[in-house]
Symmetry: C2
Subunit: 549 residues, 2 copies
């Protein structure tokens, strides 16, 4: 089955360059519409008056509808088909450079993704999302998984159905049944369960091109080393003091401090804004218009700082995107994992480490001169208090050692669910058993267990692994940067963050979606595919020292 | 010539209701796109980082392009044509109510306005606007009209060309030459100058349906009475003290005071925002999402207050628009003059008068308790200082007595220019002579004279009269409200502004574009067409008392 059967004879006579330019002109218009959507989203979270919610949702739906129509228009399809035809008959590398070739590949992938799933399935999925997320919120409130279970059941079926169309290339068979050809392409025998391989399809939505068998190997390695490491820290039965972080700190001065850190790291405030919202995010429209948010808590200094540094990592990526190819697909971030690697690199590799606080602690003390406890804290004490490890129930509150276990647990459950190896009703039991095994915790309430995350209620299955891929990428990229940038730690200790930022601009941000996966990006950068041993070594060395293991 | 010749046979079999619903569904989508444009405009003026200017302009252009395509699509035209056909063969009032009938009329007018001018003329006009406004800014800086004159010349030609297409109903003749049929429809003889009647066409763009001969009569009456009144005030050679307004007032507390006034008048802060921008405006997307701005000056208390009350008048109009017909043309404001009447009614009829300050002055004093001069000011002293009349060169700084003369001067010049009675080179001489005659001032610099306003540089000819129509409407509507609302002044003196606001909601805001002109609206409301004598009486009585004439 081909994506579209429309191929105008007129197009055959046009040059590859002309076809490419026409596709890119359309992509740029769509990019602007999506950029407008980014501004509207920011406005909604930060500025919009409450009564505007209903009309904003209608506006977004019209905007997305227009963009979708442009994206799936037969003209767009015909142009892409003609380029595909040329690719099979001419050497396009003679006419188009690697960025341009990537643009064709990416535009075609988006076109397929948008056209393979029938419109009525997309609509049914959106309707289910509303119903299902409302049910999830209600169930979480009452901490009663049974109330969410029927909707999760429907979501799993819907997720299989949608991704089924993509895996099967839009074939019209009943979705969810992989046909013989698709089975073969997935390396499945006739006797294999028919949903095997579906998780790989879902992963591609969020972590483009990343192979699930690679993910399994990485996660197995993490489990092997991190479960014992966490147990060892716990057994130590010792905790560093962090009471100096939990005193009341004036929000206005917290804000000033966070803004100064963001600017110092390299966030260009003439090309973006930093505001406050309930859930921090980095968004906006364009490298010249990045909108990020953070939040401050009066009696938790760490939350505002790490939140801001994290979002600044996302935002300097956005501001650093390729200028020559603005508005075209290749200028966009490669994957969620790679995007997360940039926020985590700044949040953890830089912002949790001693060089950073050698620079920043004196400034923090200047900001709060009247706080005598803070004044007496040394960089070492600050570092130890800032890096406490404490296994807990909630993923988004987890430290960098326990975080991967939260993700692996979710990955194992969602894969088993979507591929048919466990039933929805058994989710709480699986969840609780894994929490016990990985973190040594007894889950007593679904609210603190399998009902804590919103993702599944929106049909987002395959998303969770990107969080941990991000942290493994971050260590590998930062380790490489330290080898390549002379005296990096000394620069960081002096607040000369631009050295690292500019290196990342060149080696990550400007690379955009030139490569087919994050694995390829780190291979081309470091000579090795994504390597969990670096991550394990980083955590083991760091926390062996902090907890004197 | 008809607007479109596409009439699908399929449409003939559809019911009027179905045709209407289809047109309205399209109008609502377009309305949402324009609403998004309103949010983007607000963002640009209030929030946007500076480097985003270039991409924002591209986003707007894509958005407007998409809306224009929907608005001018052959499907839209065919639906409107079919409804026009039915109108001539059926009694539509049996099926559609007056709001719905107005919606068809308005949708058809917009379709015609958008399709009659060829796309290349629209583009050439947009390009000229960029060039011409840049030339204007440079010329104003150097106070040298000669530097702007060639571009103004081009603008006058372009304005004639564009409006020519609309007047001639899209005929393909060389624009600017009225053909015999059009001449006849304008009541022109063969010997009349061929641009006669063009000003009426231009006026329709801003003050829909208002007849220019009515405007001429109103303006003649104002000249007759206001020129002597201004001269009398001047001859008095006396000025009321307003030094208490020109002291330093903390901006934060000015902001709080203005916000409390806006809320008290009835601006719903859950359905809108009040922020600060260089040029105050009221905009946004929808009655549930109105964005207005004001500005504050440290040593001018009047500026922030009147600016806020003015924009609040616009904004309560927007928030009060018809809820049943949200998103359809009839729910929108009738004309610029009617919109301005609502801002001016609150700014002047309410906000400059004693009942308002009987309520507000004590609150103002509470806000600035340490200002001993302000504490000692009485309501009468405040009123006299707040209502100083001082003829000046600059329109936007003018008081309510001299303001109309600024407008009439511009109207006379722009009409003569566009209809070919004067030449561009003679504009400064005409301007300066009229300033002398109307306000007794000698213009010594073009910067303070014919170069002060941006309008002509954007081809906006026919816009200026709406400012003064707004003030005449305001007096007539307020005079009527005072007759209809028992004890209105007592309510205002107690800060019970909702009584007036709700009356305006019902009698003006919810009426939307139901009528064909502002003249019709006030006729239906008050039993009289727009009447300048009320305005003249209001000003004469008020300032005779203030200046003891």
């Amino acid at each position: 089955m081909t994506v579209t059967t429309t191929t105008s004879a007129d197009l055959r006579s046009e040059s590859v360059r002309s076809l490419y330019d026409q596709v890119m002109a359309r992509c740029k218009d769509i990019d602007h519409l999506m950029g407008i959507g980014g501004i509207l989203h920011w406005d909604q979270e930060v500025m919009m008056p409450s009564k505007a919610a209903a009309v904003r949702s209608e506006q977004m739906s019209v905007l997305v509808g227009v963009a979708h129509e442009m994206l799936t228009s037969p003209v767009h399809g015909a142009l892409l088909d003609e380029l595909e035809h040329r690719k099979q008959h001419e050497d396009l590398t003679a006419v188009l450079n690697p960025y341009e070739l990537a643009n064709i590949r990416l535009a075609r992938k988006t076109y397929r993704d948008e056209t393979l799933v029938p419109r009525d399935v997309v609509k049914a999925s959106a309707a289910l999302n509303s119903k299902s997320s409302a049910a999830w919120a209600a169930a979480r409130k009452e901490s009663d998984f049974a109330k969410f279970a029927p909707l999760l059941e429907e979501q799993i079926k819907m997720v299989r159905k949608s991704i089924g169309y993509k895996i099967l290339g839009g074939a019209n068979e009943e979705a969810g049944k992989i046909n013989a050809k698709a089975r073969a392409s997935l390396g499945l025998s006739e006797t294999d369960d028919c949903y095997k391989g579906y998780y790989q399809g879902l992963m591609n939505l969020y972590e483009t091109g990343f192979k699930e068998d690679r993910l399994q190997a990485l996660f197995a390695d993490l489990k092997k080393h991190l479960i014992p490491l966490i147990a060892k820290i716990k057994a130590k039965n010792f905790q560093h003091d962090n009471s100096f972080l939990l005193r009341d700190y004036d929000i206005k001065r917290q804000t000033e401090f966070s803004h100064s850190l963001a600017k110092k790291i390299g966030f260009d405030t003439d090309a973006g804004r930093l505001d406050v919202s309930t859930h921090p995010f980095s968004g906006g429209a364009h490298p010249t218009d990045v909108r990020m948010t953070t939040r401050y808590t009066l009696n938790n200094l760490q939350e505002g700082i790490t939140g801001t540094v994290h979002e600044t990592g996302h935002s300097v990526y956005e501001q650093g995107r390729n200028k020559e190819y603005f508005g075209t697909p290749v200028s966009h971030a490669l994957s969620l994992g790679i995007h997360e690697s940039q926020s985590l690199l700044w949040e953890r590799m830089v912002g949790l480490d001693k060089p950073f606080w050698t620079y920043a602690l004196p400034l923090l003390k200047e900001k709060f001169p009247e706080d005598t406890q803070l004044q007496s804290v040394t960089v070492d004490q600050f570092y130890n208090g800032f890096n406490r490890v404490e296994p807990g129930f909630i993923r988004i509150e987890a430290d960098e050692v326990t975080y991967p276990m939260h993700v692996i647990l979710r990955y194992e459950i969602e894969k088993a669910l979507v591929e048919g190896d466990i039933q929805v009703a058994d989710v709480p039991a699986h969840w609780n058993a894994k929490m016990k095994e990985y973190l040594g915790l007894e889950v007593t309430e679904d609210r603190l267990g399998c009902l804590q995350d919103v993702h599944w209620s929106f049909g987002m299955v395959g998303y969770f692994p990107t969080y941990s891929l991000g942290s493994i990428y971050a260590v590998q990229i930062f380790t490489h940067a330290r080898e390549k940038i002379p005296n990096l730690d000394e620069h960081l200790a002096k607040g000369e963050f631009h050295v690292l930022k500019e290196w990342l601009n060149k080696n990550v941000h400007e690379q955009g979606s030139l490569r087919e996966s994050g694995d390829d990006l780190v291979f081309d950068m470091t000579g090795k595919h994504l390597d969990s041993s670096l991550y394990v070594k980083y955590l083991t060395d760091k926390y062996t020292a902090i907890y004197d293991l």
